[in-house]
Amino acid sequence: MIISVASGKGGTGKTTVSTNLALSIEQKVQLFDCDVEEPNCHLFLNPVMGKKEPVIAPVPEIDLEKCTFCKKCMDICRFGALAVLKKEVLTFDTLCHSCGGCFEVCPEGAVLEKKRSLGDIEHGSARGISFVRGCMDVGQVMAPPIIRKVRSYTDPNLVTIIDAPPGTSCPVIAAMNKADFVLLVTEPTPFGLHDLKLAVETVKILGIPHGLVINRAGLGNDDVKRYSEKEHLPILMEIPFDKKIAQIYSNGQMVVDKLPEYKEKFQDLFEKIAQLVEKGGQNR
């Protein structure tokens, strides 16, 4: 079973929920840190890290000896990554999405494949959890291939928990797509609600069963609850706005280690998710 932990708004508690959930449940777990722009699960789990693999994407390089400046490569590129001028062709690596279109359409075989490093993924383990994390290179902007590479290590015999990036754009889709369940972590503030709505719309389009964790409950107002009632969005867990939890987090520690009563709460969360997945979800 694949559970993707997403949020819309950043800083709502995705990592707190993912890591504590992974540590609490009885099943064998793999945890994927797919927030590749700023992976941070390792700060809390302190895994022993092992194998590291690069994530490489092909980008075009033009052989000017063969090029006839016909512009077919430029015309097929949706991202403006090629500029065919009269005597020169410029390529813009950071705009390229590595779709391969330019290699295909060139009648002269003048578009050569150059390798570009996007980032890397690292394997590790922590307290019985098998851990994979993606990390994007500084200056790069293309996260989805790194996320897909992390997810290629999905073991169908394990429970897979994905710590997704914030937002609702391509990287988030890459981290939610084909999950069995999307767990949306929000906070009861106007910002939390605003971005939660966007996240819910996104999950609905993907047709994935989903439910809510309200973190810092007690803060803000009741609008998130009213919204969830209206949308028939099940609230599966509430984590109170509690100074103790904030301190534990700031020290890089696990809530379930310091406040053992939470272990049962996270197990209970997992049970609710499993039930919703079984009955095909609330909003499918």
Partner: protein, 119 residues
């Protein structure tokens, strides 16, 4: 000499469009005769990415020597430089005024982009 001017309309009296890649029109003006061609940049204006690069290749294709505009980003500037098109930034007012100002030699050619790229 042919110059390109980014424009909000398709006449020489129109206001100069400060944006380069996403300008409404790009007017290709002959500085001697003031004859011009109005290139409708709509497709580029609404493009997803790389508008500046595409606009720069358009300008290069029209045998333009100088571009008069408001702001030019790094990818557009790089492309124009490779195409041998000189860039004059920070222009405003009517297109015709920018052309006249250029003819009087009252301009500075840019040696770099004057706007950050958009992500």
């Amino acid at each position: 000499m042919k110059v390109a001017v980014t424009s909000q309309g398709d006449t020489l009296d129109a206001q100069l469009d400060p944006r380069f890649g996403r300008a409404a029109y790009i007017l290709i003006v002959d500085t001697e005769t003031l004859e011009f061609e109005a290139f409708n940049n709509q497709e580029n204006k609404d493009s997803f990415k790389g508008a500046g690069i595409q606009a720069a290749t358009t300008v290069s294709d029209k045998d333009v020597e100088v571009l008069l505009t408001g702001f030019c980003g790094p990818n557009a500037f790089k492309t124009l430089e490779a195409a041998g098109v000189k860039v004059v930034n920070d222009q405003s007012g009517r297109v015709i005024d920018a052309v006249q100002k250029f003819k009087q030699g009252n301009v500075v050619f840019a040696d770099d982009a004057n706007k950050d790229g958009h992500w």
